[in-house]
Structure formats: structure tokens, C-alpha cells
């Protein structure tokens, strides 16, 4: 499971922690490998999706300023972007916290 979280963290935060844990992870992760791979792709998709939402909100906001989009449209897409960003940040925080927890583990 751990090495599948790694792409998410490295993508989301660019943290060097992800690389170091990923190298020693394989023997830990092997039992649940197939299931965990799905989790990684899901997270990856989640990130691309959120990036798309943010980009759409940005372009909508610009169109709104130029008077091409209605206020309702702009507010709707910016709200969606806000929710997505909040969720993404919350998930990232959780995952990083899990990594920190692991690094504090006594060996």
C-alpha cells in the first residue's frame, strides 16, 4: 500500500519523503499488491480530475471578467474548485501525516 501512496504524495507535495519510503516499501507492500495498485491509480485520477476542475474554474473566472460568462456560472465553477481544493489538501495532509507517523515508528 505504501508505495502506491508515494506517487500521490510526490505529485501533490513534491516531498522527498515519498521517494525514500518508496525504496524500502516493496517487501511491506507485496501481499496486497494488486489491490493497492488500484488505490494508486484512483488517487492519480483524483488528482488529474481536481486539476481539471481548478483549470475550468480559472478559465471560467477569466471569461466572467471579460463578460462572456454569467456570474452564476463563475460562482458555480469557483465553488466547485474550492471544494475540490479543500478535499485534495485534506487528503494530502492525511497522507503526509501517515508518512510522518511511519517515520517516527521505533525500529
Amino acid at each position: 500500500m505504501i508505495d502506491q501512496i508515494a506517487p500521490f504524495v510526490s505529485q501533490g507535495a513534491g516531498s522527498p519523503l515519498a521517494v525514500s519510503t518508496a525504496t524500502r516499501a516493496p517487501h511491506l507492500a507485496s501481499p496486497a499488491h494488486s489491490q493497492a495498485a488500484d488505490f494508486g491509480t484512483v488517487l492519480g485520477k483524483l488528482i488529474t480530475d481536481s486539476a481539471d476542475v481548478l483549470r475550468a474554474a480559472e478559465s471560467n473566472a477569466v471569461r466572467g471578467i471579460m463578460g462572456e460568462a454569467s456570474v452564476q456560472e463563475v460562482v458555480e465553477s469557483v465553488l466547485a474548485a474550492e471544494q475540490t481544493l479543500q478535499a485534495a489538501i485534506a487528503i494530502r495532509d492525511k497522507v503526509t501525516a501517515a508518512y510522518l507517523e511511519l517515520s517516527h515508528m521505533a525500529i
Binding site: 452564476q72 456560472e73 458555480e76 465553488l79 471544494q83 478535499a87 485534506a90
Partner: protein, 139 residues
């Protein structure tokens, strides 16, 4: 996008869109309440009406609202005797728009209330989403 709360946001946004178009029609009617023709016997401004219909969103299956059509009110024009008016016919009568200010004001108020209701839905759904996401944060 199958999250019911996200879908509610989308539905409420379509409601906002529809109600704002309704206000637009009301404002056209009000602004043109005195617009007459300028040739003898010409028709004046005709009151516009707006109707809504349900639209099923293909991705979410949600029932959105959209403007079905913007039509003309076929009720008779008001007639006023004013021989000096450029639009007066041979017997001196002028046709005035079939706009009733009172009806328009009531319509506007209703659109306003509807808009508010949709805004409340957005507020509520957003708050519920935020509260749920907050569960992930350190408590």
C-alpha cells in the same frame, strides 16, 4: 460528480440561471410598458412571457431546469384615445402595450424569492460538503 451534494449544487445553479432569465424578461416588459409604435395604427410592444421545463442532465441523471421558450402574451392591447399621438389610428385611438405593471412586479418578486431559495440550497450544500471534508482535518 455523482456526489448528491455536488449534484444539488449543479441543480441550484441551473435554477439561478433560469430565474435570472426570468428577471430579464420582467425588466424588458417593465421598461417597455409605454413603448408604442410610431406609424398610425401600428402595434405597440407586446408583453413577453417565459416558461420553464425540466431538463435531465445526462451525466448525473439530475432534473435541471431550463428556459423552455420565451413567448408573446396574446392578450389584447390597451386602447387609449389620443388623436395627437403618432401611432393613433383613423379614429384617434392608440394601442398601448399589454403590460400590467402590477403583474410584472409580482412576477419579479416571485423570481427574486425563487432565486433566494436556490441560493440557500447552494449555501447549505456547500456547508455540508465543507463540514464533511473537515472531518479529515486534525481534530
Amino acid at each position: 460528480m455523482i456526489d448528491p451534494l455536488q449534484v444539488s449544487l449543479k441543480i441550484a445553479a441551473s435554477g439561478l440561471e433560469a430565474q435570472s432569465k426570468r428577471v430579464r424578461i420582467v425588466s424588458e416588459n417593465l421598461a417597455n410598458a409605454q413603448s408604442t409604435g410610431n406609424t398610425p395604427g401600428a402595434d405597440p410592444y407586446t408583453r413577453k412571457t417565459i416558461s420553464f421545463e425540466t431538463e435531465v442532465d445526462r451525466i448525473t441523471g439530475a432534473n435541471l431546469v431550463r428556459v423552455e421558450s420565451i413567448d408573446f402574451d396574446r392578450s389584447p392591447y390597451r386602447i387609449e384615445h389620443d388623436p395627437g399621438h403618432p401611432a393613433a389610428d383613423a379614429s384617434g385611438y392608440v394601442k398601448l402595450p399589454n403590460v400590467n405593471m402590477l403583474v410584472e412586479m409580482a412576477d419579479m418578486r416571485e423570481a427574486n424569492r425563487s432565486y433566494e431559495a436556490n441560493l440557500q440550497v447552494i449555501k447549505q450544500a456547500r456547508e455540508m460538503l465543507s463540514m464533511t471534508i473537515d472531518l479529515l482535518r486534525n481534530s
